[in-house]
């Protein structure tokens, strides 16, 4: 095309110091002077010219998918929520499953979540709880421990509502403040293992050590060793249960003496114990009556060995009763005897008494029956007041006008831990000595044989391999003595139908 020897028309451009010769076409000169189709070389302008300036405004599959999914998925979510709204099913908003006791209300939100009039809020307030339950306050001078939910957390799954965490109690007891300054209770209890003091019964009060206020003298150590003189022969080994039994126990008393069971007893504490028991606890397990051990009664535990014999002439002993009753009994008994044996009025001198070297009295005395009774009664009472009764009781002779002794009240402690509940029945698997070890060596009544907190802590500690050690296991928050009955408002069918 180009005639030989003639240069093709070229446009000259100086670009960056070099002279480029450009044809205003898409062809360019190669090094060898030939022509090369420039269609495959890439320049910025050619690349840019392939592009439609509005490409980014056009929808692509990706953009459309993104858009429609972004519409569809949230819409789905909204529809789901609206569905629940329309079917009045608020259970979707529940923050967890209900406890076992309230499982029946799983879908019945309105049972507790009552909408406050005029507002949107529908919190579960104490009013809702109190419509079925009564929860009397802790104690009279209480500080507000918060609403029910502070300690009883619902929506935590199938657990026990009573199982409040230690922290709930520690809210106050962690740093106990009272309205009038000092308190007789330990002030910094966080949990059983952290801050819980020794049991009050075992705590020394200043310099005075804790002691059993009981006046009946008991030496447990002797009783726990083999007894040389038992009713059924020598070397009787007593077991704890021979004297101590649960309140409702119906087991046979091994060392009971039927003669004494009918005697009137001086204390009615047992009844009080039983009475207390009925209302004192509020526990999920039914009362068995075996929670507390009954106070020891002479008739059932002691009479078998400790006879109240007073005279060789009689096999029976005096009734285990007040001194007046015993005195009357003695008089009556001696009276009946001398009436039955009138010849006995002639009292022979006891030859044993001659050894003193004093002038001897006449060998035989003849008394009137009344004198005889009086003499014999005095002798018997001498034995009783100075030995038999005194062996256990604290009595004093000579204080009273009628010359009868005054007997200290027994002051046997019925409930060693008035602020906690201990269930012997739950611990029936253990032998008594395993906890009450002190009994084996206790010689004095004043020794408190209640096991210390350390004994309990051996098993009751935090952690799954231990027994429950949270506060509620032994203590109760609510003062159930002030419990009021709540009139129930729900009927089951209505609950099922209307609750939402």
């Amino acid at each position: 095309m180009w005639r030989a020897g003639q240069a093709p028309p070229l446009q000259t451009l100086r670009v960056a110091g070099r002279t480029w010769r450009f044809l205003r076409t898409r062809w360019r000169v190669t090094d060898r002077g030939g022509w090369h189709n420039l269609a495959r070389t890439r320049t910025t302008k050619k690349l840019a010219q392939r592009i439609d300036l509005n490409y980014f405004k056009r929808p692509t599959l990706l953009k459309r998918a993104k858009f429609w999914l972004s519409v569809a998925v949230p819409l789905l979510a909204v529809v789901w929520i609206a569905w629940h709204g329309f079917s009045r099913d608020s259970s979707v908003y529940s923050s967890g499953r209900m406890s076992g006791a309230h499982a029946v209300l799983e879908a019945e939100c309105a049972a507790c979540h009552v909408q406050t009039a005029g507002t949107f809020s529908a919190k579960a307030s104490d009013t809702a709880c109190l419509s079925c339950h009564d929860g009397p306050m802790h104690h009279a001078a209480k500080m507000d421990a918060g609403d029910c939910a502070t300690c009883h957390a619902e929506h935590r799954g199938r657990m026990s509502l009573i199982a409040a965490r230690n922290e709930s109690c520690a809210q106050c007891h962690g740093d106990l403040k009272t309205s009038n300054g000092a308190t007789r209770f330990a002030a910094h209890i966080e949990s059983f293992e952290d801050g819980h003091p020794e049991f009050a019964a075992l705590r020394s009060n200043g310099a005075v050590a804790a002691s059993d206020p009981g006046t009946i003298r008991v030496n447990h150590a002797i009783h726990m060793k083999p007894i040389r003189r038992g009713p059924n022969g020598p070397n009787v080994q007593l077991a704890c249960g021979d004297c101590h039994q649960a309140a409702a126990a119906s087991a046979k008393w091994n060392y009971a003496d039927a003669a004494y069971t009918t005697a009137t007893t001086s204390y009615t504490d047992l009844d009080e114990v039983l009475a207390l028991q009925a209302d004192a606890f509020h526990r999920s397990k039914p009362m068995s009556g075996r929670e507390l051990v009954a106070p020891v009664k002479f008739a059932y535990a002691c009479a078998g060995c400790h006879s109240l014999a007073f005279d060789k002439r009689f096999s029976e002993g005096v009734p285990h009763d007040k001194p007046e009753v015993a005195h009357a009994f003695l008089v009556k008994k001696f009276g009946e005897y001398i009436s039955a044996h009138p010849a006995e009025v002639r009292v022979m001198r006891d030859p044993g008494r001659d050894l003193t070297g004093k002038p001897l009295a006449p060998e035989v005395r003849v008394l009137t029956p009344t004198q005889w009774v009086t003499e014999r009664t005095a002798e018997a009472e001498e034995l009783l007041w100075r030995k038999t009764c005194k062996q256990c009781h604290a009595l004093k002779v000579g204080d009273r006008q009628d010359h009868l002794p005054s007997v200290e009240p027994a002051r046997t402690t019925v409930k060693w831990m008035p602020h906690a509940k201990f269930d012997h029945n739950a611990h029936r698997g253990f032998s008594c000595e395993s906890c009450h070890q002190k009994a084996l060596t206790s010689t004095e009544t004043s020794e408190v044989l209640l096991p210390g907190i350390a004994t309990c802590k051996a098993c009751h500690a935090p952690g799954p391999e231990h027994a429950e050690s949270r506060c509620f296991e032994c203590h109760t928050y609510h003062d159930w003595s002030k419990r009021k009955e709540v009139i129930p408002t729900f009927t089951l069918p209505a609950l099922r139908k209307t609750g939402n």
Binding site: P9, A16, W35, T43, T44, K45, L47, F56
Partner: protein, 714 residues
Amino acid sequence: MVEITIDGQPALVPAGTSVFDAARMNGTPIPTLCHLQNETPVGVCRLCVVDTGARVLTASCVRPVEPGMKVVTNSEKVLNARKTLLELLMADHPSPCARQENSGDCELETLARAAGVTQPRFAKRTVSRGKDDSSLAIAVDHDACILCDRCIRGCDEIKNNFVLGRMGKGYSAGIAFDLNAPMGDSTCISCGECMVSCPTGALTNKTVAGTSIAAGPDTQGFEAEELLQLPVFKGVSGTFLELNRGAIVKRRFRPGEIICREGEFGSTAFYLLEGKARVSLSAPIAHVKTQGGAKGLFKKLTSTLAARDADVRDDEARDRTIPIDASVDLAYGNPVAELGPGDLFGEMTCMNFYPRSATVIAETEVVAFEMLRNVLDIMMKNKSFRAQIDQNYRRRALENHLRGVPMFADLSPDFIEHLKRSVELQRYAPGQVIARQGDAARSFYLVRIGFVKISETYPGGELVLAYLSRGDYFGEIGLLGGGVRTATCTALDHVEVVRISGDDFRDMVERFPSVREGLEAVAAERAAQNQQRMQTVRSVPIDQFLSQGLMEAQSLLILDLENCTRCDACVNACADAHDGVTRLVREGLRFEQYLVATSCRQCRDPLCMVGCPVGSIRRRNSLEVIIEDWCIGCGLCARNCPYGNINLHPFDVMVEDLERPGRKKAMVKQKATSCDLCTHLKEPSCVYACPHDAAHRVDPRTFFSEMLGGGTAK
């Protein structure tokens, strides 16, 4: 002298004359198709065959006379041969071809009719050879081509462009441009020589084939004699005009008719003979302003057209005239002027194919010549025409241009008058150097038309400082005398400059010392700038990265492809900031792991500036390329940018309806836009909006030299 016999008549002709010429000289015209007087005869059409008594008929255009030759031009044998030839040619000819339709003078059809060829016996070719519509000025209809070779010779011999050639063989032979590229893609410069040479309608002037020149009731062709009557055509070769009939037409315009519209591409110039025309800019004088965002949290960034007072740009040219392609410039405040008889407009469009710079509407009844480049070229070489043009320029535009030079702003009127008289108008061809760096400076120049490249060479390369167009000036150093040129000034296309000689000037300066102070200040500033530039440029290794032209750039938008997740946030931000049309495209060539995005590079050699018909694209502060508010949206800068960084931004505006004056109509006007670095905000929006730290605007010199660990770039 040789003696021959033509048709029985003796003739005496110089030796070496062709038979054809001999016959012509003796009054016997022989029909030809492939022969033109001003081209080397080739003898391919065989229509000029005559009987010279040889064994076969001779092609008279190539056969030189021999003594005693007996030439018979009209024997039956010859006539039959011609007729058959014509019949054969007509068989393939798409009769009536474009030329026949428009001007009725398709040589082939005329000859065929004269020879009595009506319906050819031969079957038409089945496969069309196609049309080529790609050229702006010339329509190619290969079916009408008779392969007469005239166009090829015209392009080669007359115009020396060497674009046309033949291709193929036999049935598939045809003419081709370059290596069979579409004409518009070829190196063809639309001089029209081929078209003028073509005997048929194979190559026709597009506007000929379309609407304007030579078509329509208001246009008339004319005889060459008519033209020669006019004083401006005094001295123009009649033959030339004869041969270039069709390349110049007289047109009549009614009052209110639009002669040309701004932004259109064209290839003709208009010379007003009678009447008055109004030249104006109908594009809104406003630049693309991106606003909002920076003020207040919720204001959206929008691109609007903002008038100058609404959006002040600090160093915007104030009180400037808008240079257009006519003998007068438009004042900024009121861009309307009047053209009268003797005014030439469209010179740049015609000579250099730049888009039309303004809209011209006839005010009264207007008679104008519309001419193609080949005619204008000749006219400009013609003394009387030139004189006319010069006079007009001096009268109407020169003073404005002179006053546009800051140093001359305060000159007294009689000084200006003197200058106007003493200046010289000089023309330069494309590529010609006007002033060379290092030469003694003797003159001061103002540009009247065309583009001048001002560049500096230094060790390692060349830096283009500016492209100057109409109304700009250069060479002020020369006015001081004794100075040395600091830059080379080259004409990029057909340039005409106004030259003020230094000697002349210095004499006058004696009278106005203030001018001297101004000059010296300018000279000192120039010297300082050059110094600084030399320093920075020298310290950078220029010869790297030339293949992508990266070092050409002063600011590149690069996307770190290892961070970029191709999320288009940058593009969205740019579009958001610019009324929905992005100025950045995430496509381009890579360098290492960086993608050099298609976004204005603020080139050192801003090729976009070349050719702006209204001179609205310029540099600011040596970095940012901005487009002034009178951009007419022709799109030339977009085509020139080698990286495709300039796009055209359409705006819906209400403009005056030119066809119905006094009314407005909605139009889509385009304004050229390119990345403006979001200068009204602290940071470019694309960089601001990239969530992955992938978009950066960097200075390539520092960035790349750091990357490669070379050179201490300061």
